[in-house]
Structures are given as structure tokens and as C-alpha cells.
């Protein structure tokens, strides 16, 4: 395997919203910055084709009491992930500055000259999200990065971090089009690899890339971080979402309609008729509603926009494009589906991995020189942009203070990793990444679904570990593209294993972690459930937020 050495002050792994924002800020502060992007940054990640809601506090709108705004968020939409208030405070102290920056860079943050608040908020309560025209956001961010001298390396997949003592000194990456390993010698590394899409089966299990996250986000950052001793939390707590069936697309709050049963009766109580300002908050309150209706014999459930006005239709179509749903619109048009006449069936989407890297309000992890931002640590656009920025700032400052690290001291590790890639490329017979990925999804679905108990989890874990051992010595990669997929699958096996370990350890029922053997929510466990590896073994702790 050929090797290329790249030296930089700051390395951003992932060229999504958080990675690009980190790169822009670090570069602005004088650091040499490289972004390693697995796909091509222009249309990669969850922001690939746009987003339209940006969560922000605006003093002139919300009043000067920022704490009251944060209280409102904690009471409503953001209740899902428990995080320290310190993180919210940091986000909303900065988010509006980012809004103004983006607007000045050419991402329109106003609508018809004004802040347009809509969606993700309850009628009568404080509005928390502005609508913004994000369709071209990645193009703009890339240009800003390039203007500041950032180097973006596309088709480069980070797969291993290099640790020296208690700090990170670089990373290894595989080129996805050539047989080449890139050794990054970096003073600081920012992980921004996004969500994890293919650990559990998709809405269309026979078609695994039909996933609203896209295919390229596979939890690599979490797996890399864990292997070198960074802390993860929320690992066993799955997430679910809701949206159109069977062409899964996010953007629930962009629909101007009412979620109704087959008889036309609203399933929630928030929206009697289509309302462009609030949408239908039932989807925020209960993402399981479609599944519950179907399972109790009351399905299907539809997104019904048939009562909308012509102006609302134009409004929604504009925002669907900004939200990155242009392909769904094209598909509906081609099929003769018109939302003004046809209610669209909605589904509760399957389980998704919800694990996060533990990072503080400065995007710092427990390891020196390692930062994490965006969906990797705490997601949505506002958080990705804000903590990307903050992480980039802190990484650049840290990089200024330290000497260039010596990765050659870790030559043995580098060679060992190269040999493991050569082995994957060299084998002629054996399961390919897809076969391994399907086997993994099967175990996760059957043994680490929402309802779990000790015996089920133990059985699933032992089967997963057997599979993992097998693929370690048999998986094949026919070319560099497949090699990258193999590395993704190995990462996901690692994360899957952690889901089992942490689900066994969480002896209570909470949210989507349902343990009939521990049927109650334990208030004493209102804490972060953290896992990290020490001396090659997983160590678990509970820690107050």
C-alpha cells in the first residue's frame, strides 16, 4: 500500500457543516488546515443539498433574557438528548453571530427581508427556528474555506487516530479511489463525521442506501475516538424519525399539512388545519405515532396538505428545495403525485444509532488535541455550525502552543494498519462489506431493537462478536471503494458491540430503550452514561450532566 504524508496544524475529518466551519475558523486564526472528506464535500453529509431551519436566539426578537429562551428549548423540542446547560448556553451565545456571518457570506438567512420564524415550535410559545435558504450552503462554505487557504482533500476516509501519551498527534486515512494510505501529522484533529446510517436496517431493508442520512455517514468518528480512549455517551439510546414512506427524507417541519388517519381525522391535537408557521407538532411530540397507529390496527397515517392555500403551496415548495428535498419533489412530479390532492403516507423510520462523543462547550474531548463537533457530538445545523466554529477556534489556539508531533515514533502502528488494509485487498474469497453489513444490521434489528432484555442482549452480543471475529480474518475488498466500505463496516461492528454492552448496563426503561426486565425509569440515572476504553477494556461510568 502506497503512503502519503501530509503535515498540518489542524485536521478536520469530515467536510460537512461542522468540519467546514471548523476549518474556516481555524484557518482564519492562522492555522494550516486540511479537511479530509470521504466523499466530495460539495454534496456530502446531511447538509448535502440544503436545510431550512436554523435554531437561534435573536435578542431583538426574543428579548434580552437568553436564559428564558434556553428554558423554553429544554421544555420542548430539545428534551430528547440530555445535555449540560453549559452546552446550550454556549450554542445560543454564538448562534446568532453565525447566522449573521452566513447571511453575509451569501447563505440567505432572511425571507423577504425579515427573520422568518416557523416550525419546531408550539403554538403560543416562543419560536426557536428561523427559516433559511440552505440549498447552496455547502458551495458557499467551501468557497469561504478555500478563500482562507484551507486544503480540502476529497475521497479521503479517516479511519484511525494516532495517540501519543494523552494527546492526539494525527490520523490515518484511506484513499477511496486509489490504493493509498495518507498519514496525517496534525497538532489537532477535529472529528466531524456526522451521523451513523447503516448500523440498523433502513426503511427499505433490501435497499440500504435508501436512507435519509445518505450513505457516507457511518459513525467513523465515534469508532475512531473510542479506540484511542475518548469518551462516548448515549450509545445505547437509539433515535427514530418520521417522514414520507418509502422515499425517506427528513424535513418534517417543512411540510405544511396535518398528520391524519385514513378517515381524515388528525392524529394529534396541535394542528387542526395546515399551518405554515407551526406545521404539525405531533411529529415532534411522538415520532412513533405512525408505527403505533399501524400496529394497533388504526393505520395508515398520512401527511395531508390537501386543505392548504395556493400561497402555502408555493411557500412549502420553495422551502422543500431549500431543505434538500428536490429529488423527492421531482419523483412525486414524475409519478403524478400532487400534495394538493394526494395525502402522502408517513412512516416512523427505523432505529438509528444515537451515540455521541463526549465534548464540552468548547468542543474539546477528554484527549488533548482532539475535538468533536456536529452530529458527532450534538447535532442539527445550528449546533454543527456553532460548535464547528468554536472547535476550530480552540484547535487553532492549541496548535499554536505545541511543537509539531513526531508520528514516526508510531511507525509500527502505521505499518500494522497498512498490513491490515493490504490483507483486505489481497484476499480473493470471503464475505464482502455488503454481506458483513447485512449480517450486522440483522443482529442489531433482532437483538438490539427498542425492546431488549438481558438474555436477548447477551445472545445478540455473543453472535455479533462471533461475526466480528470472522470478518476480521475473511472480509474482502475488491478495490479501494470497497475497502472504504469494509473500514466503515468494521467501525460499525465496533459501535454495535458498544450498543449491546451499554444497553446491558442501563438497567432501566427510558425513552426508546425499553427493558421489560427493568420496566421503570430510574431518576437516579438522570446522568450521562459514558463508555471509554482503558487498557484495551471498556470502562463504564455514570456522571452528572
Amino acid at each position: 500500500m502506497e503512503e502519503q504524508m501530509v503535515e498540518t496544524d489542524v485536521l478536520c475529518i469530515g467536510g460537512g457543516i461542522a468540519g467546514l466551519m471548523a476549518a474556516i475558523r481555524a484557518s482564519e486564526l492562522g492555522a494550516k488546515v486540511v479537511v479530509a472528506e470521504k466523499g466530495h464535500a460539495l454534496h456530502s453529509g446531511r447538509g448535502r443539498d440544503g436545510n431550512d431551519h436554523f435554531e437561534t436566539y435573536i435578542p431583538e426578537v426574543h428579548g434580552i433574557d437568553r436564559a428564558a429562551f434556553i428554558e423554553e428549548l429544554l421544555r420542548t423540542a430539545k428534551g430528547e438528548v440530555s445535555l449540560s446547560h453549559e452546552i446550550f448556553r454556549a450554542q445560543f451565545a454564538k448562534a446568532f453571530d453565525i447566522v449573521k456571518l452566513w447571511d453575509s457570506w451569501g447563505i440567505p438567512m432572511k425571507y423577504k427581508g425579515k427573520w422568518e420564524f416557523a416550525g419546531h415550535s408550539f403554538p403560543g410559545r416562543a419560536m426557536t427556528h428561523i427559516k433559511y435558504s440552505g440549498h447552496m450552503q455547502k458551495k458557499v462554505l467551501i468557497q469561504q474555506a478555500i478563500d482562507r487557504g484551507v486544503e480540502i482533500m476529497n475521497r479521503v476516509m479517516g479511519f484511525e487516530l494516532l495517540r501519543d501519551g494523552d494527546g492526539i498527534i494525527g490520523a490515518l486515512a484511506a484513499h477511496t479511489r486509489e490504493d493509498k494510505v495518507i498519514v496525517f501529522r496534525a497538532k489537532a484533529v477535529i472529528l466531524a463525521t456526522g451521523k451513523c446510517s447503516r448500523l440498523y436496517p433502513s426503511l427499505t431493508p433490501g435497499w440500504m442506501f435508501n436512507d435519509p442520512h445518505g450513505g457516507g455517514v457511518t459513525g467513523d468518528g465515534r469508532a475512531m475516538a473510542y479506540r484511542v480512549g475518548a469518551q462516548l455517551h448515549n450509545v445505547e439510546m437509539p433515535q427514530r424519525h418520521i417522514g414520507p414512506k418509502y422515499f425517506p427524507k427528513f424535513g418534517q417541519a417543512t411540510w405544511v399539512g396535518v398528520l391524519k388517519d385514513a378517515q381524515g381525522k388528525p392524529v394529534g391535537t396541535f394542528a387542526p388545519k395546515p399551518d405554515r408557521k407551526y406545521g404539525d407538532m405531533i411529529m415532534e411530540v411522538n415520532k412513533l405515532v405512525c408505527e403505533q397507529y399501524t400496529q394497533s390496527g388504526k393505520g395508515p397515517v398520512y401527511m395531508d396538505c390537501t386543505d392548504m392555500t395556493d400561497e402555502d403551496y408555493e411557500y412549502m415548495m420553495y422551502w422543500m428545495v431549500q431543505e434538500g428535498n428536490i429529488s423527492l419533489l421531482d419523483h412525486m412530479k414524475e409519478e403524478g403525485i400532487d400534495i394538493r390532492r394526494h395525502p402522502i403516507e408517513f412512516a416512523t423510520y427505523p432505529l438509528r444509532f444515537g451515540g455521541l462523543i463526549v465534548a464540552n462547550a468548547g468542543a474539546e474531548t477528554n484527549l488533548k488535541g482532539l475535538y468533536a463537533a456536529g452530529d458527532e457530538a450534538f447535532g442539527d445545523i445550528s449546533a454543527a455550525a456553532t460548535f464547528g466554529w468554536i472547535g476550530g477556534e480552540n484547535a487553532a489556539r492549541y496548535a499554536k502552543e505545541i511543537e509539531a508531533p513526531d508520528v514516526e515514533r508510531h511507525r509500527a502502528t502505521i505499518e500494522e494498519k497498512k498490513i491490515s488494509l493490504d490483507r483486505l485487498r489481497g484476499r480473493q474469497e470471503g464475505p464482502d462489506w455488503e454481506e458483513a453489513n447485512i449480517a450486522l444490521q440483522q443482529v442489531m434489528y433482532d437483538y438490539a431493537g427498542s425492546v431488549r432484555n438481558k438474555a436477548l442482549l447477551q445472545q445478540g452480543l455473543s453472535h455479533l462478536q462471533r461475526l466480528k471475529k470472522k470478518i476480521d480474518t475473511t472480509m474482502i475488498a475488491r478495490n479501494p471503494h470497497e475497502l472504504a466500505h469494509c473500514l466503515e463496516v468494521l467501525n460499525m461492528f465496533e459501535l454495535g458491540e458498544l450498543v449491546f454492552i451499554m444497553a446491558l448496563d442501563r438497567k432501566e426503561t427510558r425513552s426508546l430503550h425499553v427493558r421489560p426486565d427493568y420496566p421503570f425509569t430510574n431518576p437516579l440515572l438522570d446522568q450521562a452514561h459514558i463508555i471509554q476504553t482503558m487498557d484495551g477494556k471498556p470502562v463504564i461510568q455514570w456522571k452528572p450532566f
Partner: protein
């Protein structure tokens, strides 16, 4: 076959090969009409469709991903 290239329109400029995040066109050669090597890895984002300077690509949504809708025109109450 999610992305479909009309070879009579395609100028082999390579833009779609360059930008597809999933690298569905992996292995395509410079100056030649792209090949759709990994159709099942297409995430149906249509970014290639809108990046193609001559409109030579369309994305066929595979049958399992077809949108489900109520065919009636009934107005709900």
C-alpha cells in the same frame, strides 16, 4: 439503475463523477461517458442531475423507494 445517463447528450465532462458523494460512478475514466458502477449505493439526492451542465442525467427511483400516497381526491373534513 438509479442514475441514468443519456449517452447522446453526455459530453463526458466528468462533473457527475467528480461530485457524487457516494461515488456511484466509481471507476469511470476521464474523457469517457461515465459508468454507473454502484447503482445500489445511490441515495437518490439528484445532485448529479442538477450539476450536469447539459441535463444528460436522470435518476430513476427504484421500486422499493416509491412514495406511497392516497390515490383519492377526497377532501378531508
Amino acid at each position: 439503475m438509479p442514475p441514468i445517463i443519456d449517452s447522446s447528450e453526455c459530453t463526458a465532462c466528468g462533473r457527475c463523477v467528480e461530485i457524487c458523494a457516494e461515488d456511484v460512478f466509481y471507476g469511470s475514466k476521464k474523457g469517457e461517458i461515465p459508468i454507473v458502477t454502484y447503482p445500489r449505493e445511490c441515495v437518490h439526492c439528484s445532485c448529479c442531475v442538477y450539476e450536469c451542465p447539459v441535463g444528460a442525467i436522470r435518476v430513476r427511483i427504484p421500486l422499493p423507494a416509491m412514495t406511497v400516497y392516497k390515490p383519492t381526491q377526497e377532501k378531508s373534513q
